[in-house]
Point group: C2
Chain length 342, copies 2
């Protein structure tokens, strides 16, 4: 393995994927020049079940060591570029993995977890999800866990959380937070998309938004045109500034529909919850024609350039801003003894 050197090429980074992982997909990451991906490793799984998912990733890192490796710090982006592989950073879309135990925050960070959503659609022990009728904001445990996440370097992700909880998290967190995969509500008024108030507060606090390619977050759904998406990106730059925006594709490639059912329903109801879907369309929606898999990030990049964005702006959105955010977010605050040293 070559020693990592700073590449002159700006990194290409995706802020969220949850695919049915395979050698094919890892080769598509390489073909698409994707240097780093934040992947979801767990939704409603308990701690032990999450560890089983980590074990499955360990096997993938072993089998496909020429294509992927586990990302732990921002420096791994340069290692990915220098060695022609993709750095995989772990995230959780719900805090089920820490159960009711704040000690698991550090344990999971040690195992590589770098993002954790405080809630997923529903109320959690920490915060409220975006589908609840009422959002009372961060809970007592939520505030304690955010402080612990800040300490160890585990990023607070509010993609599936409610408005008040999200504003609470931005205010309470001492480090910038992320909304890894969502779009502006003003562009497409879905419950999962975010108000201008949230987006401005996010950007002002140094946080970041991964703009989503998932059809339920797009105006026109699967039929949304590339130019429409690019126009939304440009308007978002006008709203919050270039530094707070990136891509979080929410690519759920090759997943059977049983997986979206698990994502939405977990073990919390005996009924069917269709989430962003409906009884008529309960499965995964078809991705837009211009973004089918990891090979198509270049299409978005070209689309943004064609729309009039500068080279610097395009590379900030396609990875530079995530690289900057990773640098600020993943390291632990240096240990200080809780008692004065004698």
């Amino acid at each position: 393995m070559k020693a990592p050197t700073l590449s002159p090429k700006p990194p290409r980074i995706d802020g969220l994927q949850y695919a049915n992982w395979s050698e094919k997909i890892f080769r598509q990451m390489r073909a698409g020049g994707v240097d780093a991906v934040h992947v979801t490793i767990t939704y409603h799984e308990t701690f032990r079940e999450t560890v089983l998912n980590i074990e499955a990733w360990n096997r993938r890192f072993e089998r496909f060591a020429d294509l992927i490796f586990q990302g732990r710090t921002a420096a791994d982006i340069a290692i990915a570029q220098a060695t022609g592989r993709t750095a995989i950073f772990f995230g959780s879309q719900n805090p089920s993995c820490i159960e009711d135990d704040i000690g698991l925050v550090q344990v999971l960070h040690t195992l590589g977890l770098r993002f954790m959503q405080l809630s997923y659609n529903n109320q959690s022990l920490l915060a409220t999800g975006c589908y609840e009728a009422e959002d009372p904001g961060l809970t007592r445990m939520g505030r304690a866990v955010v402080a612990e996440m800040n300490r160890v370097g585990l990023v607070v992700d509010m993609s599936h959380s409610g408005e008040r909880s999200t504003l609470d998290a931005i205010a309470h967190s001492t480090r910038p937070i992320a909304i890894t995969h969502a779009n502006p509500f003003t562009w497409h008024p879905a419950l999962r998309n975010k108000s201008d108030k949230v987006l401005k507060a996010l950007a002002e606090s140094g946080g970041i938004l991964g703009l989503s390619l998932y059809p339920h977050h797009l105006k026109g759904g699967s039929g949304c045109a590339l130019t429409e998406f690019c126009e939304m990106v440009a308007r978002s730059v006008d709203l919050v500034g270039i530094g707070a925006l990136a891509i979080g594709s929410d690519l759920c490639q090759d997943q059977p529909d049983s997986v979206v059912e698990w994502m939405r329903t977990g073990r919390w109801t005996k009924s069917v919850d269709f989430g962003e879907g409906s009884a008529d369309a309960p499965g995964f929606p078809a991705m837009p024609g211009w973004f089918q898999d990891n090979r198509h990030f270049g299409t978005i990049e070209a689309g943004l350039a064609k729309f009039g964005m500068s080279e610097a702006e395009v590379s900030a959105i396609m990875g530079g801003n995530w690289a900057n955010f990773f640098t600020r977010s993943f390291d632990a605050v240096p240990a200080q003894p809780e008692r004065p040293a004698l």
Copy 2:
């Protein structure tokens, strides 16, 4: 924190302790100039229970950051010396923590586990304990787990294992193994002490023996004199050479007797098993007067010097050999893809 520099002072390292951890004990480690300790964090605990024990250690590392920190690689010995703290390396005395799941070997190594016994007195899923009547050697899973431990850098420890299993482990392991806490059987014929055959095979394979201060492993028990212990050390050097010997004190300081009952009995029997003790003396035995706690390593060092060992020999036994063993043992074998790269 100062940058670590190579200290001219040879390190002082203990190969096994299982104390009732407290600020008092950590201060005694500092007073005794102990740079690194392999501590037992789990016996019969499941994976989840072991993680709870790791969480308790994380709290100690946070509270007592001026006295201790978690050791992960041999380089942490120099960091300990440069910053005036003790590096704590995790170990397990039984493989209960990996349950029946080989994937937990890497997970626990990532969480810092550096030693794991393949069995504790009884038969395990991996190997036979030293109190079983029959020892059929390493099991099928045992061979698979040893290979995985070799890959990730988790040291095989056979302190409480049977003779044949121990010889099997030495032969099967591609990296040197440890017997972290035991003495020669010829000196004191306890079931926990090791035959000359085992000790020679251990040393010839590059392995290491931590000589024990636990009274049940000492000739004369709690009444064993320092000179008798030092004579045994010198005879062991004659038998296996200076490079294979170190200290593994087995200090169980400040523990209530309920802990030794857990160590011996776990959840495997409804009866009482007295292990090395007896119905008359079921509790922890009193340590020898010349080794009560971490402040007394200097006493052993002086005793060895007085007995005629050279300065180089004494420092090898008091820590140099462990430092060398740590350097060879804790790193993972570099990842090689299991398929040829295209």
